[in-house]
Symmetry: C2
Subunit: 234 residues, 2 copies
């Protein structure tokens, strides 16, 4: 049996109890992103930490137990099966086509345009082709980058702008819905791989997965990604 191991850190985002990223000044959001980056690098220095998950739970339906604005970083001593499956799919794509799956997704989304919500110089925010939940948005660096730890200063700022913009749109257009976001990044020992690409996945909690989802692993999403993107874009 595996012995217990892990690291959990809480990022307090503001001294103001009722503030949230959607309504904060950009400088505060930039500070949060920079804190993620610094703590991520520090955690990845510890060789027992195989990967870290940076996430934010907003509201009760999203599992938030404390109201004061905060995010969390959990480092694990293993790469969970769930992540290895995703990495294996990306590897298979790379083996077949010789290109990063996510770079290809970016290209296709920019060409199609239909699912794009916002684009800035270094990031694209779009509703994924097969979104799990209504108004799901992925924020992805446009340059190939497997590891969140490799983010540059310019990218940090553009990512903060994106995070604030998308969460602001959800806040104003959907009346401050509960949501989770997660930064999905490569495992430590895969930080330089050509087939992986980090991104931030924002999932509003407007629907409830039930028996069918538990049994099948398939999400029932009553929304069309193209409509969700158009709604958030305008």
């Amino acid at each position: 049996m595996m012995s217990g191991y892990g690291r959990q850190e809480v990022v307090i985002e503001s001294p103001n109890h009722d503030e949230t990223i959607a309504t904060m000044p950009l400088e505060s959001v930039a500070l949060i992103v920079d804190t993620y980056h610094q703590r991520y690098l520090a955690l990845m220095e510890e060789h027992k930490n195989m990967m870290a998950i940076i996430f934010r739970n907003h509201g009760r339906r999203a599992g938030a137990s404390l109201h004061h604005p905060h995010s969390q970083i959990i480092a694990t001593g293993i790469v969970p099966q769930h992540r290895r499956w995703q990495e294996d799919e990306a590897q298979r794509y790379y083996d077949e086509f010789g290109r990063c799956l996510f770079c290809d997704i970016l290209k296709q989304e920019i060409n199609d345009g239909e699912r794009v919500v916002v684009e800035n110089e270094l990031f694209l925010a779009f509703v994924p082709f097969a979104a799990d939940v209504p108004y799901e948005v992925w924020i992805m660096p446009k340059n190939h980058q497997a590891d969140f730890g490799s983010i540059t200063a310019a990218e940090k700022l553009d990512f903060a702008v994106m995070l604030k913009t998308i969460l602001g749109k959800l806040h104003h257009k959907l009346n401050n819905p509960d949501y989770n976001y997660v930064i999905n990044t490569a495992a430590r020992y895969k930080a330089d791989e050509p087939q992986l690409h980090w991104y931030c996945e924002i999932r509003p909690r407007l629907t409830t997965p039930a028996g069918f989802e538990i049994g099948s692993g398939i999400s029932i999403n009553p929304s069309l990604p193209e409509n969700d993107a158009a709604f958030l874009r305008h």
Copy 2:
């Protein structure tokens, strides 16, 4: 792209709006189980249906949109990846040990006894060794049976007794919690396989999966399976 296909059936469980399996007479529960069985067999006659998921959502947190007591059966034209992963694990175990993984789990749980909630002649109800959620209970036929469609008349009755007993315990000891249950059964073309074994998975909705679960696929279960089983057993 795949064209849309599927079958959805709703099993109305009672003429009484406020009844639920936990509080119904046993004969009504037996009728529900028999209905599952008949409809399952009918759906599996249609060659486009690759598998069926029988499930029940109880309460709002479990995704129930209608209060009147009902279950659902959804047949799909594919075997979802999520299920194929589980089937692959069972296959690997069978290839290595020459035995059904689930039959071995049954043997171990009966020997250990610590996680057993109730046992009757043909079924075992236990909290699984690595339960995803607090008070999760699996009801499993003690004789090897890959396919829910193969259930015998005697097994149907014992299964109905188990379902009523476990849901009754949850209802009375945990104040009628919201829950989902799902009957996990082999895909149609694997109905006779020696490595698969159907079971009913009952999941009370007392916790909320949040960012960590989304990112890692790992469940945070604050409960010890042995404690949950002891609590439900007595």
